[in-house]
């Protein structure tokens, strides 16, 4: 299995981003996804900045993929999408069917998790258009994945979102701006204040969701580090870690050590807990509500 770093889903200032990726150049990660996938108003890094960063990371030996914005609303968004699709140096992660149209039969691409590939027919179809890798929907269970992989005809690599707050929903509305009683068009870039998103709790204090601009994430951190053996058995090729404001490098190191069996799943889980911004969940992988956490029992037979 290969280890991937997903795109930064939050809005960090320019210096923070540049130093984060300087650090990632030396991190034990094989693939780095780069780009603004959440909101077109986040402009401290432009597409050209990402492409320059991509060059540096590629020179450091990383496979770099440029990720497209998930919700494409305006002509401006479409233009940016077109520029990304026309770049000749890096593979693109298509997070919308509009991106697929621009990439199909032109260059190999990664089919992102929001394309909703739930069955082998759709997977084969996208593979036929050039999807050399696909990221399974975050909602998909291990069992549903096994069924898709058993019955598909094509051979694209399979990637799973294995660590991070789950990107659960996208809206036209910006919930961070709404919290500050601001309109989206005048959001004052409040997302800059929340390096790991803005916590939403129930009225009895249970952490439930995380507001990240137009994206809604889980409050809990989806964490499959205790499941690396089941990921391997399921035929996963790429394991994705989603960046967080602190300790991302250490988390990648733990995943790497777990994948190379230098740590048992119990050890990896114990060590990662102190590095997480919230508690773990992994229900989706087990076909349960996403917020559940089921401890992997290494003695249980599959």
């Amino acid at each position: 299995m290969k280890l991937a770093l997903g795109p930064v889903l939050y809005y960090w200032d320019r210096d923070t981003m540049l130093s984060f990726y300087d650090e990632m150049a030396d991190a034990p990660v094989d693939i780095i996804y780069l780009g603004e996938t959440v909101c077109s108003r986040r402009h401290l890094l432009r597409l050209q900045d990402y492409l320059d960063m991509a060059e540096r990371l590629a020179a450091a030996g990383k496979e770099v993929v440029i990720s497209t914005q998930t919700l494409i609303e305006s002509e401006y968004d479409v233009k940016t999408l077109r520029k990304i699709a026309e770049n000749e140096n890096f593979r693109v992660e298509a997070n919308d069917m509009g991106a697929v149209r621009l990439l199909a039969n032109k260059m190999p691409f990664v089919a992102g998790s929001t394309l909703n590939i739930f069955n082998p027919q759709t997977l084969d179809l996208l593979a036929g258009l050039g999807a050399s890798r696909w990221v399974m929907p975050v909602e998909m269970s291990r069992e549903a994945l096994a069924s898709v992989l058993r019955n598909r005809q094509s051979g694209s690599e399979t990637e799973v979102f294995a660590y991070g707050r789950l990107p659960l929903a996208f809206s036209a509305r910006c919930f961070t701006a709404r919290h500050h009683n601001l309109q989206k068009d005048d959001c004052q870039f409040k997302c800059l204040d929340y390096e790991d998103g803005l916590a939403l709790k129930t009225r009895e204090g249970q952490p439930f969701l995380t507001l990240n601009g137009i994206q809604t994430q889980s409050a809990l951190v989806h964490n499959l580090i205790g499941e690396l053996d089941t990921l391997q058995d399921a035929g996963i090729d790429v394991v994705r870690v989603s960046p967080q404001a602190h300790h991302t490098g250490e988390i990648l190191r733990l995943f790497r050590e777990g994948m190379e069996q230098r740590l048992t799943s119990a050890q990896a889980l114990a060590q990662i807990e102190g590095l997480m911004p919230a508690a773990s969940c992994n229900g989706y992988w087990h076909g349960k509500p996403g917020l559940d956490f089921i401890r992997n029992n290494p003695l249980a037979t599959v």
Binding site: N119, L166, F170
Partner: protein, 336 residues
């Protein structure tokens, strides 16, 4: 110059609702089969094949169209349920099927080349590149656009595609891009994409407590009501939550979309059809909403320059709106 036109597409969660919609002025009705092949998979709702046959007969006899929603994402273990539904739709003479999954579109296009395909709102197509993808690949002829675009963005989108555009005009409002929301499965295990349900009734619990009436979804507190407040169904994005010590509708208020006042603009833009949400609602709802919209559309098509929303229409629609509140949603840019 072509005369103005715009189709009224009404929800039919049952045969009585279908007949009510047809009798009160719907141009089209849309329905689903009684399983997880559609995004209103609720107990007691939807059609058996026999019911659907009677529905199609009734509508066609009155010159109206029937559309079948097959708009969930087929799970591999049940793939045949979806293809059988497509076969049944063709057999029953449905005027179109409303699909979200590319694999299923491919099946429909290959197996039943004469079956008209619409792209469901669950397909999350918010730009013309995406819509043209489905058009070129599978020949979809109409796209239902997610309730997240401003009207100016819809117009921009229409300039880039020859595919007909259908917009939601009234009813329950998804604040998230349809097809890209997993909040329900995060909380309960079931979502629109995977099981055709959002905030499913089986996960709902109501509890009287000293602090007020509480609504919970799989144990998660969605809202709590004082004695003088109307309690609403705990759709999880419409609850009151705590963000940095402030308790409010952090995602969306319980309110219904109502675009009556935009009607002349929608007609001018050349929108092909207006969709009324609410297959889960009663025939009485369907009757009220269909009547008002029929009158409004007829008035508007007679002369859109003098069209004015009648207060009686708003009052009628207000009665059946969620939380008795109405909004223009994302069509009105500042809402965002």
């Amino acid at each position: 110059m072509q005369p103005d036109k715009i189709e009224l597409v009404c929800p039919a969660g049952s045969l009585p609702a279908l007949k009510t919609a047809v009798d009160n002025g719907a141009d089209c009705v849309y329905m689903g089969f009684r399983d997880d092949t559609n995004a209103r998979n609720f107990t007691g709702l939807n059609f058996s094949v026999d019911n659907a046959k009677e529905g199609v007969r009734y509508a066609h006899a009155k010159g109206k169209k029937v559309l079948l929603a097959l708009n969930t994402y087929p799970q591999d273990e049940g793939w045949q349920r979806w293809t059988t539904a497509i076969d049944n739709a063709a057999e029953l003479g449905m005027d179109a099927v409303i699909l979200a999954d590319p694999g299923l579109m491919q099946y429909a296009a290959k197996t039943h080349p004469d079956l008209r395909l619409h792209l469901s709102v669950q397909g999350s197509a918010t730009n013309y590149e995406a819509i043209n993808f489905y058009h070129e690949m599978f020949g979809i002829q109409r796209a239902v656009v997610p309730r997240v675009l401003a009207l100016a963005q819809v117009e921009q989108l229409m300039a880039g595609t020859e595919v007909e555009i259908e917009l939601f005009g009234f009813g329950g409002l998804c604040v998230m891009v349809e097809g890209r929301c997993a909040l329900s499965s995060y909380a309960t295990g079931d979502s629109p994409n995977t099981r055709g349900v959002c905030s499913p009734p089986k996960a709902v619990r109501w509890q009287e407590t000293p602090k007020g009436l509480e609504s919970r979804l799989n144990g998660i507190l969605i809202d709590r009501y004082d004695a003088d407040e109307n309690a609403g169904y705990p759709t999880l994005c419409k609850g009151r939550f705590d963000v940095q010590g402030e308790t409010y509708y952090a995602i969306e208020e319980p309110a219904s979309l109502n675009t009556l006042e935009l009607l002349p603009e929608l007609v001018r833009m050349g929108i092909a059809a207006i969709k009324i949400e609410g297959r889960q609602r009663s025939p009485a709802y369907v009757e009220q909403v269909t009547k008002v919209w029929r009158q409004a559309i007829d008035n508007c098509l007679r002369d859109k320059s003098t069209f004015a929303v009648k207060p009686s229409w708003m009052a009628e629609l207000g009665k059946v709106s969620e939380g008795q509140q109405q909004t223009l949603g994302a069509y009105y840019r500042p809402w965002k």
